[in-house]
Symmetry: C2
Subunit: 307 residues, 2 copies
Amino acid sequence: MEPAVVVYEVGPRDGLQNEPEAIATAAKVELVDRLARSGLRRIEITSFVSPHWIPQLADADQVAGQVARYDGVRYSALVPNLKGYERLRAAGLGVAALFVSASETHNRKNVNCTVAESLERFRPVAERAGEEGVLLRAYVSTVCGCPYEGAVAVGKVAKLAADLLALAVDEVSLGDTIGVGHPSQVRELVRTVSNAVPLPKLALHLHDTYGRALANLQAGYEAGVRTFDASLGGLGGCPYAPGASGNVATEDVVDLLESEGVATGVDLGALVDTTAWLEEKVLKRRLPGRVLRARLGLRGRACEGAA
Amino acid sequence: MEPAVVVYEVGPRDGLQNEPEAIATAAKVELVDRLARSGLRRIEITSFVSPHWIPQLADADQVAGQVARYDGVRYSALVPNLKGYERLRAAGLGVAALFVSASETHNRKNVNCTVAESLERFRPVAERAGEEGVLLRAYVSTVCGCPYEGAVAVGKVAKLAADLLALAVDEVSLGDTIGVGHPSQVRELVRTVSNAVPLPKLALHLHDTYGRALANLQAGYEAGVRTFDASLGGLGGCPYAPGASGNVATEDVVDLLESEGVATGVDLGALVDTTAWLEEKVLKRRLPGRVLRARLGLRGRACEGAA
């Protein structure tokens, strides 16, 4: 069955960037390969930022260079600026991801400039991407609330999304960075932002910090969103609460959507195998995803070698 | 603000019955006391079954006898038969809970009789309860699927709910025992069952095995259900998948509902304190609830003394 939604896998970038221990480049390359073979068609594989800021992804060029390419799979990476974009191009990737926060304070803490300055930094990247046929994805974070400012006005998110669209980005991913969103809020957010950015260009990037990611995803789906970011096993914790969940788990997203009769194109069994491999052979610890835990429990093995 | 929903705490019964280690009676009594003081108004405190079946709750008479009573709080316990009912009365409780499965195979494995035989066992309990002014709650399990039979027809659930109503039960709690339900299914379930049992007499008892408990709760709320079972911290694992989640966490339910503007009457901070106390002082391990973990993380302590 032709997939009716896009499940956008961000674990290799958004998850691994938070890992305390260095992960071998070969393991990252194998991870991306396994994810593609489980049916995921959009995978964010690394970040071309300075190793000074994110040492965990210092091997971005190697990872991007070595990952096997499959037909129909698009590999993206985060680029903070033109220099990052050039590294992405040198590695032969065709999708560049930008990031900006809907909250001024969060943007300043994250990238040390104002939102307007972030947009100005994007401009030369967007121009080059347009000339070179590179797709652009823009992450907007803190759309449901900011850890510093609290509530974030939905109109502010819509305005920023419109500004990004004016830069000719191909997709805007709305991120509930701290997981405080709730269903009626997500419904209202999608309704308002889709006045500025057409629904097919919108994605939701939900965090499960308070257990509401799937309730919010369901609300977003019912409001017309068809692209959902997720991270295998829920890799990538909440930076503000040690031990708490961050990214919604890809397995949980796939299983919810398939239960609802929405084809994802993902082979859940193969994905669970991949995440179990990552837990046992690479991370040596358990990830928070629910479906992963339930499936491995039903197979009679909780997670060998993990706590 | 007057609560707009009932959050029905089942942890001391449904959670503790699955604990591998014996819990001291005094700790159980303190737990129930703390739960009541956090604002929960319905608490299921134990089960009057044979200690041969559930040794963890062998001190049911002592627990029920010692728990402090607060005005406006109703304490219930599970009773499998008239003998259990008599123990409940001797301990001075005013709410008796019955349990039956919507799946014949699950009912047989659970209580070793047919569904019809379960209903016959309930009859003398229901008669006595009617005479003595004791409220009756009936749990119907496997309403969204059975671990042995797979799919469970919604009509079968509605028929059983109607049979229970004919026995004059005051409330029917629909249990997604293995957590396989999904939002559109829960919506359809509530719509169909509410033709047989009025919405104010319906409760949802959701498990988070696949991470969908809150998405299902939201669907149930939107369909008109106003009573939701939950267990502090998500206490009570999934019996079919070691390491996997069972009961939805009370903190997660309260936080979702309050986010949506639905008053629960529960003091979330006090509840988190109680669950943190249970983890650290009694269980010596972490529970799976998301809000608990996030709140404790934000307080800067993950869980002292726990893994």
